[in-house]
Symmetry: none
Subunit: 202 residues, 4 copies
DNA sequence: GTGTAATCGAGACGGTACGTCGAGTCTTGTG
DNA sequence: CACAAGACTCGACGTACCGTCTCGATTACAC
């Protein structure tokens, strides 16, 4: 689930200090939200976590990978029950609404932007980023769209990946560019329009 | 149009060296495309431009602002005539298609991502970024949508800003996340679906 | 008297601005005494003098040469009449006393030290420094010693240059090292001891 | 004996790299003698020593303090046995002669001048300079003069500090001003005259 | 008066070094 | 082994001066 090996094999030597791991992730998250990725130094994280810098580097190769794990951990902690109402629109609005609330509730936007930026020049990191943040988020949406096709709320030939981009894209767009607010009405409008469009365009 | 003041009053003192200005912008663009923002140093840009670092800092406060001007200059150079066919869909496809070709033709994506990331922590820079890259891009789209409403191709109450987010969002989403290709079919699908959705949802 | 050519041949072109020359020398002296040579920038001198930097460089090749002229001008302004009493000791005490008062009255020490330091690596400047500060100061002392030999207050074979070093050396030593005070008693002791020594050693 | 703290308590953390310390001091000395203080950059010293600039700044706050340690180290290495012959004059000539040979053997003069200059504007540095170069040098001379008083070669009331200034001052004077040579004859003349003077003036 | 020639203020320029900061590595001793 | 402490390399940062250069504007003398 995280970037690095989960642990050493059985029990050779001193075992990994779990408290240190948690302290690092928590300190990182806190500092990242407070200052943003590029304004947070590894020394600061180490100091805040009461941990040696070497200990961080033993488990995370770069600041970015630590940030990724750190934020992912926070986002995973608040995983809301995807309440299936049966209606595509309502399910999507619930899904995207709760996620957008999470994303905009604290300054995650700039961490996401920084990770996104780092991913542009590092294919390996890009893959990790997508695995944790893109795929993980798209999967429940994909399930809802699939279910919608099965129940006839969307035509059989519907391009699910296109649909997901049409749903997530606009929200990410506003999240990153900040040119307009992300509120419930916007989420509702996006879902409604895309739903209608996918039905009509078939 | 650029970041800094256009010039001092009339002619007091030695005038700004226009050749240096162009050399800086060109060198910056070249290096940025080659390596990405964070891997390009001001020293490298200065060296490449045959210019002193102080001269760069005299006119651009940060590397980011230079990158912004530099990329904007390149994008402005290739401003294609938005050929109005009269059909919303065709006009939008032409607009978004030519832009996406420009954006994906060279590794602009990572520069955009870096600028976006910088904008998250600097409101002043965010405003500049939006003025140059967001607003500038949305305006022709906005014109097309307005015209579509006038000609009855879209219902009168259509939310234009929502429409623009639905059109640009998915493309930016793929550009930045790289989880799927941006090709003509995708552009066409986005436009078609959004057009249909805006008509149906009214 | 100064470092640079006194003027252009006859009168072709705009003549040198005398007010600027004085303003530069005065501003330099003021700033030098206030901050010391290495903490004073040419820009600061130019600003203070209400003069362009180029104007300074037109007449003085380096900051050091300007400092030399500037301090020399101040020291020359207060040239006290060397009142010949007829007694070697009294004449020397008067000479060295008035000079040491001048030198210690304001922080000239650090300017002298800086000039001295600059002279170590630049033979041309060293020569100028000596001409203005060393020779100029030794000459009246030399006259007194010569007169002392003529009047029998010092033996005929007295090494005058040695005597001058024995007189000036200790004062400079305290001026530069600051390990002990330079007061009238010290001057008197130096003169008395050296006078006695030169007489006894013959 | 040096500028910085000798070490951290016992053994916490990686110990200071002794090889780096020596390499820095040696490289500094070499470059300083070659070019003089102001023409040597910290980068050059770091490069020559095969060391990072940060490592230098960790242990020496300024270039001047490094130069001081560096030169002091060299001067300490060649500490000649002060051979007591019993004669004040001979002892002093031996002492001052060997020191002046050391000081003039290589271009230490300009480094001394530069340190002296730096000391003029920084009381803390001035104190360090005096501790290393002035006091350290005066002490053996002081011992000789004290012994001379004890053995009746100098009168009981002799002002030792005055004597030291009369001895060292002229030599420093010639060293820094370069208006005349420092040779054995000069040293002998200085010592003889001062010795005679101190005896006669009492 | 009208060149002609040198001056001046303003300020941009190339260059060099500064001293600092952060990333990531390495080297100790301790648990 | 893991880990705390902390020294280390590397490379970039943004700033400060230096000394040079282009401007346009001024001020004299020579014609």
């Amino acid at each position: 689930m995280t970037t690095q090996e989960t642990a050493a094999p059985p029990g050779r030597g001193r075992p990994r200090d779990e408290k240190a791991r948690v302290a690092i992730l928590d300190s990182a998250a806190e500092l990242l939200l407070e200052r943003g990725l590029e304004k947070v130094s590894m020394d600061a994280i180490a100091r805040q976590a009461g941990v040696s810098k070497a200990t961080i580097y033993r488990w995370w190769p770069t600041k970015e990978s630590l940030a990724l794990d750190s934020v992912y951990r926070q986002w995973s902690a608040t995983r809301p029950e995807p309440h299936q109402t049966g209606s595509v629109s309502e399910d999507l609005i619930a899904l995207l609404g709760s996620w957008s609330k999470l994303a905009t509730g604290r300054p995650y936007g700039r961490i996401i932007a920084a990770l996104l930026s780092a991913a542009q020049s590092d294919p390996g990191f890009a893959q990790q980023y997508r695995a944790h943040f893109v795929d993980q988020r798209r999967e429940p949406g994909r399930a809802i769209l699939r279910h919608a096709i099965d129940t006839g709320q969307l035509p059989p030939g519907t391009d699910i990946e296109l649909g997901l981009d049409l749903l997530y894209g606009p929200i990410y767009h506003r999240l990153l560019n900040g040119h307009a607010l992300i509120n419930e009405a916007f989420i509702r409008d996006v879902v409604t329009t895309v739903h209608a469009g996918l039905n009509a365009a078939a």
